[in-house]
Symmetry: C2
Subunit: 333 residues, 2 copies
Amino acid sequence: MATIYEVSKLAGVSLATVSRVINKNPRVSDKTRQKVLDAMAELGYRPNSIAQSLASNISNSVGILVSELHGPFFGQMMAGIESELRAAGKHVIITTGHSEEDKEKDGIEFLISRNCDAIILHVEAVSDAYLIDLCKGKMPVYFMSRLVEGLNDHCISLDNELGGYLATQSVIAQGHSTIAYIAGPQFKADAKDRLAGHKRALAESNIPFSDTLYFEGDFKETGGSDGLNHFLESKQEFSALICANDEMASGAITYARERGFSLPKDLSIIGFDNIIFARHTYPKLTTIDNPVNLMGTMAAKLVLKNIYKQKNMSITHSFEPTLITRDSLICKS
Amino acid sequence: MATIYEVSKLAGVSLATVSRVINKNPRVSDKTRQKVLDAMAELGYRPNSIAQSLASNISNSVGILVSELHGPFFGQMMAGIESELRAAGKHVIITTGHSEEDKEKDGIEFLISRNCDAIILHVEAVSDAYLIDLCKGKMPVYFMSRLVEGLNDHCISLDNELGGYLATQSVIAQGHSTIAYIAGPQFKADAKDRLAGHKRALAESNIPFSDTLYFEGDFKETGGSDGLNHFLESKQEFSALICANDEMASGAITYARERGFSLPKDLSIIGFDNIIFARHTYPKLTTIDNPVNLMGTMAAKLVLKNIYKQKNMSITHSFEPTLITRDSLICKS
DNA sequence: TTGTAGGCGTTATCAA
DNA sequence: TTGATAACGCCTACAA
């Protein structure tokens, strides 16, 4: 592979001049620039990004930590981040945390050791205190889908409490008053917030929150089936089921049918996140939209603005969920 | 951040010695090694991976190009690749090609300019000739889910023809003889192979292939609904529908119900890929399993073996699809 | 507008 | 077993 040195020789100019045209420094005469460009083309020259990084202390890469690489939620998020960053010539280094504290810390270490210019984290298991500490370090850190106290400027987050409220309010509006709730893992902030919103909506309508109609799931399909099974075993009456995410709602729908339910007549179900697949359940899932793709691009813009000093980036830190009405939630008969 | 130089000073040894302990070179006395280790700990030293890369010409990163970051198929694939590579201390740089020739080439360029040690490609739009040419270059290249003529050692692929055959054979075995087929985009090799398998099974049972029962979809949900709509409009009779992937099958299922079908009684449907969600359609989707996650780890192992010279890596280049029986395919009544 | 020279933090080749 | 010292390919004052 040709180096800057060979280009300079062929073009008959100095290293510095070649470097200038590579970096689009305007202080080069058009004539010289053309000579250099020609030489680069002739040699098939490509800058060595590693050497650039070492010399400039900028790696043009941003680290991303997500819980999982698969799954509709993270897919949308990564797609949003990557497309925005890629368009700016930055690349993403992606790793996973699997929602486990050790693995998340491990992943962060990994990213830091890779000399990213910044890292965007979707962490769930690690504590706020740890993150606050992390932010004191040299590596710029940003958070997706998580609001860390005192670090608002570093966060792109969804108002999960409002989403939880919206879901429950919609259910109540359809005349339901016996409502089961399958929550996400309560060590996850968004799961906790959604539950809080649920309780607020309940309280607002003077419906007591009942422990026997509450189940803590795992945010996966199994959480939905396990939860529903739990409620069914307990012989509680309920006409609606709220799931803290769409995967659990899918699991619940599938399981409900296995148990002989006719949906949505026998049971109304609402989800959360509006993953792509939500419109392909039967009945089509009524859910709360989580604009995670948009939030991904926003996180990327935040990095572009703060780290790479790009202008004209208007940042929205906080997003609001909205109700998506489909067929799985109907009036209580 | 501390450098190797500061460590050497604190430990009272030379740069070279510190470098040796970093690289686990055994030609260092235990005593010296300990001194160095202590110094590193005291300074919180972390090797600068960029400098390492520049000096050693190894970046410890492998580039991945997938069509999309979202979507159940690519999620599984990336998860497989990443977990295997990450365990070996390598990192992945992920970018997208969107199944468009220009963008795929662009992504490959991008990855090459990033000095990856190798790249793993899931490309669909680019020609075999281009890939063969690419392989002549300096960058080691591997292919996921695609068999390039003459580059078998570089490929991890699925026998799509067999999968297509299996699907159709299963449908025929259930007594169906009027069978509609929604294919994937025919510029994609796997879509073409699946169709070939379909035709072979048809021929084997002396069922003529009918153009009027063929539709070329887009591998997305819309392909399923569009295709089914097309067949319905054409007033053809058919008792079974084969979709070349699960997303299209989902779309078809949803659309069939909108058109008043009772599934699977009125229409049997089979998919391909066995994405996670396939068990949550209604009826649960009978499909062909595509072990893409496993194939991802295999691609990673291939790189680990060939590029990073890891031992004990047994490689399987070719995978076989299997039938997954659920509820969407039943006997012709 | 262009060139010179030092430095970025390691690895690797020789010697010792 | 250890230590000098020259790469690695590029950026960036500083000088001209």
